[in-house]
């Protein structure tokens, strides 16, 4: 399958011919996508088509699963992600992740945000303070929590949890933020806030977002990749893909004929 390159932006993550096996069963088949830098790329496709699996290749979260085997190439800034000598911890700092289910730690809001920094050995009070303020502001959470930074994060609402998780990811200043259906556990209002937030982060971070929701993909993303049963069906500018898809399957999917 030929690589579909985005035209107007330098790619930051390049993948080519990625095949992934969970033991004997193959979940990804020769997937090749170049993700343009500082843009929002959406991964869409029916449930079980391998979106999360593909996303998790990019920060090597699949390492946690026993018996996973990956072939093909994934590169971040020209460095092979699956290189066994690569420092995974460093990779994960560059490629942050926000999960489907908000997963704040049972610590204060402050400690949640600085978790990644503390892990990296940053303990300077001023650095941490300013990181907390900046990250929470970027995550559009600052005004709501600035008076209770040292209160347990568990008391926040679901939508606030997810924005806290985004702030937590931003705090370590990643290049890429992976989001795996970040709104699927949230109500419509919180979803709208997260979508606004993604719009604001666009331009400073490369965002790869998995979503189930076609409208969301159309609203927030610059580029869209459509995966189907482990295969990349189509990749292109979101407008193009949604208004004038090249492939029949894509059209069927986005018009809701299956999936």
């Amino acid at each position: 399958m030929e690589t579909k390159t985005a035209v107007d932006s330098e790619p930051i993550i390049k993948t080519s011919n990625v095949c992934l096996f969970y033991g004997e069963s193959q979940a990804l088949f020769d997937v090749s996508v170049d993700f343009p830098g500082n843009m929002v790329t959406a991964l869409i496709g029916p449930s079980g088509c391998g979106k999360s699996t593909f996303l998790r290749c990019m920060n090597r979260m699949n390492d946690l699963v026993d018996g996973v085997r990956i072939t093909g190439s994934l590169q971040l800034d020209g460095h092979e992600i699956n290189d066994p000598t690569l420092d995974v911890i460093d990779l994960r700092r560059k490629v942050g992740m926000v999960f489907q289910k908000p997963n704040p730690f049972p610590k204060s809001i402050y400690e949640n945000v600085v978790y990644g920094l503390r892990i990296a050995g940053v303990n300077d009070r001023d650095t941490l303070d300013s990181a907390v303020e900046n990250s929470l502001k970027r995550a559009a959470l600052w005004d709501e929590v600035k008076d209770r930074l040292h209160v347990s994060a568990l008391g926040l609402s679901g939508g606030q949890h997810q924005r806290l998780c985004i702030a937590r990811a931003i705090a370590v200043q990643p290049e890429v933020i992976l989001m795996d259906e970040p709104c699927s556990a949230l109500d419509p209002r919180s979803t709208a806030r997260i979508e606004d937030l993604i719009g604001e982060l666009r331009g400073d971070y490369t965002i790869i977002i998995v979503t189930h929701n076609m409208q969301q993909a159309a609203r927030v993303s610059d580029y869209t990749a459509f995966l189907y049963e482990g295969l990349l069906v189509e990749f292109g500018a979101t407008k193009q893909l949604f208004t004038n898809p090249e492939k029949k399957e894509t059209e069927d999917y986005i018009t809701g004929r299956f999936g």
Binding site: N59, I89, F99, F105, R118, L154, G158, R168
Partner: protein, 556 residues
């Protein structure tokens, strides 16, 4: 119609609800009965009982604390029991006596001047003061005989403390010194033997040095022995002088007994005490219970050494069981690859709890005491081993607590595993995705979150350990320990034998020569053991609830 109704009754599962409810109530009732029996019998022991005087038709008089009414097994006639005390005046050496109701003439009387006297030996004395012979203390004050006797006892005890007490302190210090010197002599002897046998290199100079040291040590030993002999003589002198202070007591039959004041622990007049005085008596008895050493083969006095031993044992147990269990649980859940092996280990761990505790005791004796202790002895104190003296190679609190640690470690492992297993995968992923290592994730996120569950394991382990007696009996518990199992210098007293409330219950309840007199102590000891377990677990539960509040996982 009727049949339908009964069918519906069965179908709705009503009987099952009843059955489960009944089962629960039966359990609760039995537990409540146990607690009430222990509380009623235990709490009442220290409350001063009135002393009744019973006059019989034949003119005999009995003085004692009324115990209970009953029917004679053989004759079926009504009888009642008195605790008459005065064991030493009784022909049968008994504290308790049964009398027929029919022989009773009139009602019980409660003479106000009756004295109950707690003594160091021979139990209580119940009777009247006849004469106070206080030759060795000046100016006894008091309006009544009883208050004068009380004053005389207090002054005599004060003198005993200042004269004999200081000597006793010195002699016990000397006994320690003597012990150390004897060990030092053993060591010098052993060293020179080793050199002579050619097992260790050494020159004549070394042997000479050891010989000279030996001479010094032997001289020192001699000196200490002489000093303590002198002290003992001095003590006897003081004591025999003090023992001249005495009181002559008369019992109900007019028999008299001279009792040295130093042998009297306290006196009281139960028939002449107001409510506050009784409360005060109660409090001082509880204080004695908690702080004093036992007397009279453990049936009187305090329980301090046993309380101390019990708590110390649980603490030392915690030091072995908790770290080991937490580590093992973490490994099983977080690091071990899930497979047949791990599953087998898990099953084995769960089943370890089913092994009878005496088996652990036997293992503890064979492994910890003989193997580990014996080996330690031969490394640290080869000279003592050569002389047939064991230090670690015999039962001691350290080995007993390790045995209990082994017994409770499965409980801890299981709860650690469950606590870690209950943490959602997402939290782990969240931490790892931020660049944390597995270890950082464990320490910073997982362990705090698992801490309430881990605490639950600790609580269960402590409760289990506090209730075990059987394994202790062969790994170091004794009915009377001369010293507490703690010390400032190595081996910190951990090698010592110790007393324990659980064993105490067994010992005084079933091994005591005077079971009737020991009964109150059995209840008190049981109550105390329950309270200690309750106190320790409550502290842990409060801690756990705090942690739970802090780290609870709110479902979203």
């Amino acid at each position: 119609m009727n049949r339908d109704a009964s069918k519906g009754f069965w179908r709705q599962g009503e009987p099952f609800v009843w059955a489960t409810g009944t089962a629960l109530s039966i359990t609760l009732i039995i537990m409540a009965i146990l607690l009430v029996v222990v509380m009623v019998n235990g709490l009442g022991v220290f409350w001063p009982k009135s002393v009744a005087e019973a006059t019989f038709n034949d003119g005999a008089v009995a003085l004692g604390e009324f115990q209970k009414d009953s029917k004679n097994n053989e004759t079926g006639e009504e009888e009642f029991q008195f605790k008459t005390a005065n064991r030493d005046l009784d022909p049968q050496m008994q504290d308790f006596h049964w009398y027929y109701r029919k022989n009773l003439k009139g009602e019980f009387r409660y003479p106000t001047d009756v004295i109950v006297m707690e003594r160091m030996e021979n139990g209580n004395f119940i009777g009247y003061i006849k004469e106070i012979k206080a030759v060795n203390v000046e100016s006894i004050k008091g309006e009544t005989d009883a208050s004068r006797l009380r004053d005389a006892i207090a002054k005599t005890h004060a003198r005993y403390e200042s004269e004999v007490g200081t000597i006793l302190d010195k002699t016990s210090g000397l006994a320690d010194d003597l012990q150390n010197i004897r060990y030092a002599i053993l060591k010098v002897k052993y060293d020179s033997e080793q050199i002579q046998l050619g097992k260790r290199s050494g020159v004549q100079a070394e042997l000479d040095r050891l010989g000279a040291e030996m001479k010094k040590l032997v001289a020192e030993e001699e000196r200490i022995k002489e000093t303590s002999d002198e002290l003992v003589k001095e003590q006897e002198l003081y004591e025999s002088a003090l023992r001249k202070n005495s009181v002559i007591m008369a019992d109900s039959a007019g028999r008299t007994k001279e009792i040295p004041l130093v042998d009297i622990v306290r006196i009281y007049q139960p028939n002449n005490m107001g409510y506050p005085a009784k409360v005060w008596h109660y409090i001082s008895k509880v204080f004695e219970l908690l702080t004093a050493d036992p007397r009279e083969s453990n049936t009187e006095g305090g329980l301090f050494p046993a309380i101390f031993g019990t708590i110390m044992l649980i603490f030392l147990m915690a030091f072995t069981s908790f770290p080991l269990g937490v580590m093992a649980g973490i490994y099983l859940r977080e690091y071990a690859k899930d497979g047949v092996m791990v599953r087998l280990v898990r099953i084995a761990v769960n089943n370890l709890a089913g092994i009878p505790s005496i088996v652990y005791g036997i293992f503890g004796l064979g492994f910890f005491v003989y193997q580990v202790g014996g080996t330690l002895d031969s490394w640290i104190y080869p000279e003592r081993v050569a002389a047939g003296v064991s230090t670690f190679g015999t039962g001691g609190i350290i080995w007993a607590s390790m045995t209990l640690g082994l017994l409770t470690v499965p409980v801890v492992i299981v709860s650690v595993e469950e606590a870690l297993g209950a943490i959602p995968m997402g939290v782990r992923e969240g931490s790892l995705a931020l660049g944390a290592t597995k270890f950082q994730t464990l320490v910073r996120v997982l362990l705090p979150m698992a801490s309430p569950g881990i605490m639950t394991g600790f609580i269960l382990a402590m409760a289990r350990a506090a209730g075990e007696v059987a394994p202790l009996m062969i790994t170091g518990v004794v009915k009377l320990a001369p010293t507490l199992p703690i010390d400032w210098k190595f081996p910190f007293g951990f090698d010592r034998k110790f007393m324990h409330l659980g064993f105490h219950i067994y010992d005084i309840g079933f091994q005591s020569p005077n079971v009737e007199a020991a009964k109150p102590m059995v209840y008190i000891t049981t109550l105390l053991l329950l309270l200690i377990v309750l106190a320790m677990t409550s502290v842990a539960i409060v801690l756990r609830n705090k942690m739970r509040k802090r780290y609870q996982i709110r479902s979203i």
